[in-house]
């Protein structure tokens, strides 16, 4: 038994971490954020060269053939750095095609996705916060899609869009297809734009396997890992601030009340690391646990991170309330993780059903 990471995975963490530190330090995030969150192709290219884009794509199509845990470890680092990249949607699209596509579909799309030249994304939720596929109203008639998807990550940057329908069915739409329209969605997290996608008879191709549930579960785990990265980093930022900030003649970290608030923040988020590791592992190896573990990780960890983010603002005093302080960027990223693909309460309703309550 081994509940932990392999040496390769630790190396992966290290590699992504130093890439982020070097290529996407806070001032780069800040520049993208203040500019309103445009896609940064150079950064994505760098990440793709590390192998991030093709991580779960089978090796035969140019990917690394790794597992969701590896992807989630990347998500943690991107969360910890608040990295602006079309990672979430792309990763979900890769899962969809790797698990659900026919041989010819794989050959057509996976190599470009694996290299990162083609950016993918997934449209899951429908307007009004609908996340249950049985309630989806998207329709596939005579080779064309009708309907709308809300909160689609980085839709404008994507060249390939996977649309989720009822019964786990998935459909691929390519950029520029007739009848395809995107609308910007107001989104406080400027590191990851969200768009509404409107499908008015858009030519689409159905994937061979209806693996919608797995695509969603992968997304839930990646959001949990990203939120963990945000929360974990926020606790450390707050601790550093408390050590540096002087009040009444000494660092505020010496005030016991401050110290205990910071300790409570750590206990809020840190013990949840093993939960998303487990959920990611279950995704590939424990089919019976997969769905519930992913929902638990998403509901629990994104709630914890949002809580830690509130506390981090307060822990930074007046500075924490300013736009110029990076805490707000993480605060908003944690809000994205909490809401996209369904709120904690929505997933708790599912957990109760899945747990046979």
């Amino acid at each position: 038994m081994h509940f932990g990471l392999t040496e390769e995975q630790k190396l992966l963490q290290e590699t992504v971490r130093s890439f982020v530190a070097g290529e996407c330090p806070p001032q780069v995030v800040r520049a993208v954020f203040d500019a309103g969150g445009a896609h940064d192709p150079a950064l994505w290219k760098g990440l793709s060269e590390l192998g991030v884009a093709g991580m779960v794509v089978p090796e035969v199509y140019g990917g690394a053939g790794l597992e969701l845990l590896d992807l989630a470890l990347v998500a943690e680092e991107l969360g910890a750095g608040a990295v602006p990249a079309p990672f979430l949607g792309h990763a979900m699209a890769c899962v969809a095609l790797s698990l659900g596509a026919s041989e010819s579909q794989r050959e057509r799309w996976l190599p470009a996705l694996a290299s990162g030249e083609l950016v993918g994304t997934v449209g899951w939720s429908e307007p009004g916060g609908v996340i249950d596929p049985e309630a989806f109203t998207v329709e596939f008639r005579e080779g064309a899609l009708f309907g709308a998807k809300s909160l689609v990550p980085n839709a404008s940057a994507a060249g390939l869009l996977v649309v989720a329908g009822p019964d786990g069915r998935l459909f691929v739409v390519e950029r520029g297809a007739p009848g395809l329209r995107t609308e910007a969605v107001s989104n406080i997290d400027r590191t990851r734009p969200l768009e509404k996608v409107i499908l008015e008879g858009v030519p689409a191709e159905e994937l061979e396997q209806p693996v919608g549930d797995r695509v969603r579960d992968a997304g839930l785990v990646l959001l949990a890992a990203d939120a963990f990265g945000c929360g974990h980093r926020l606790v450390r930022m707050s601790a550093e601030y408390a050590k540096a900030r002087q009040q009444f003649g000494r660092p505020i970290a010496e005030f016991q009340a401050v110290k205990h608030q910071l300790a409570n923040m750590a206990v809020e988020i840190d013990p949840s690391r093993a939960l998303w590791w487990f959920a990611a592992h279950a995704f590939d190896h424990m089919p019976e646990e997969r769905e519930k573990a992913a929902a638990l990780a998403k509901a629990h960890i994104t709630d914890r991170a949002a809580r830690v983010a509130r506390d981090a603002v307060e822990a930074h005093g007046g500075l924490g309330f300013t736009w110029e302080c990076d805490v707000q960027i993480y605060f908003k990223r944690a809000a994205f993780d909490r809401v996209v693909l369904g709120t904690p309460d929505q997933h708790r309703d599912r957990i109760a059903d899945l747990g046979g309550y």
Partner: protein, 410 residues
Amino acid sequence: MDLRLGAHYDELRERVREFARANWPLRGAEAELPRREQEILFRRRAIEAGLLARTVPRAYGGAEVPTDPIAEAVIRQELDAAGAPHRASPQGTHMLVPTLLEEGSEAQKRHYIPPTLVGEIYWCQGYSEPGAGSDLASLQSRAVAHGDHFVITGQKIWTSNAFEADMMFGLFRTEADEPRSGGLSYLLVDMKSPGIDVRPLRQMNGGEEFCEVFFDEVRVPIENLVGRRGEGWKVSKATLKHERMLIGDASYARIHFQNLLDLARRVRHGGRPAIEDPGIRRRLAELEGWIACQVHASQRILSAVARNEDLEVLPDMLMAKLNSTNVFQRMTRMALDLLGEEALTEPSPDETGMAVGTPTPGRWVSQAMVAIGTAIAGGTSNIQRNIIGERVLGLPRDPRPPGSAGGART
């Protein structure tokens, strides 16, 4: 207990309504004046009618009637309802004016109070500095005496509305050799003085209510010193007291709760209006318990103050800010839960103010951030806990680290 206002106040209410109907909006040629001048006119008339600046002596432009907090609450309600511009610069009327009345020279009172009451002078407050949040005793901005002037160099932060302010009152270090709170003076600074640079401070919700103010050898006439040199700390205390009471005001809690109910009726959870979900209903009812406490506790405080029984409710007044901060945070968290995917809406500039406006998703998102901000503003919640521990429960003060002076907390 008797919660009826009584005939006296019912009459007052009627009189205020009538006054508002007759005096706002302005009519005829007056309606063509610039907005600010219209407001000044209205406030001047309201003071003449005994409705504003009630406790300020006539000599300084006030109405000079006996203090009556209940009457003032009635007046506020009715003028609010009429949309009349009765609030001038709150920093001016609620902070500077009481301070000048207590500590100002006769000349200062005559010069500054009348135009402040009607809103001819807008004020901002210069206390906080980057290195000194809760710890005002460690202020660094210096005012060096130089003939008949002080010359200020330094920086203030968290200055509300400094852009539109005509004047600032603030604390500056005049005696370099006295450590901590000993060497501060309370000065009035003309914001149009050369050497002042005001920069907006953008908040996490996108709003820009606060500014940084930079002073580069700004000259302030020596007659703008309030109280004695080096005793600014003492002069400022009345002001801080007033600020706490302002923030602890419960008036918007009920409105927020109604907005929350409306939101729960509008949004859908699991295909049905969220308001029909038993879990949501219970959470709303729990919130209403918190709000009812806040509302009735502030009724009680108002009533006690009106009867000169302030001492009986002192503990409650000391707890009001922390309690209202907690309740506000509970409400906005619930709002975010109800909003679902709309909880990501980025607030537009007109949704970021502190005021209660149409409860759009963007405004709720902004309020959720502002609710955290209120735990920081005007003394952080941790400072509030110290005050409650010491003054309500009689706990000892924190042991001071060697070398620090006393009096660091207010």
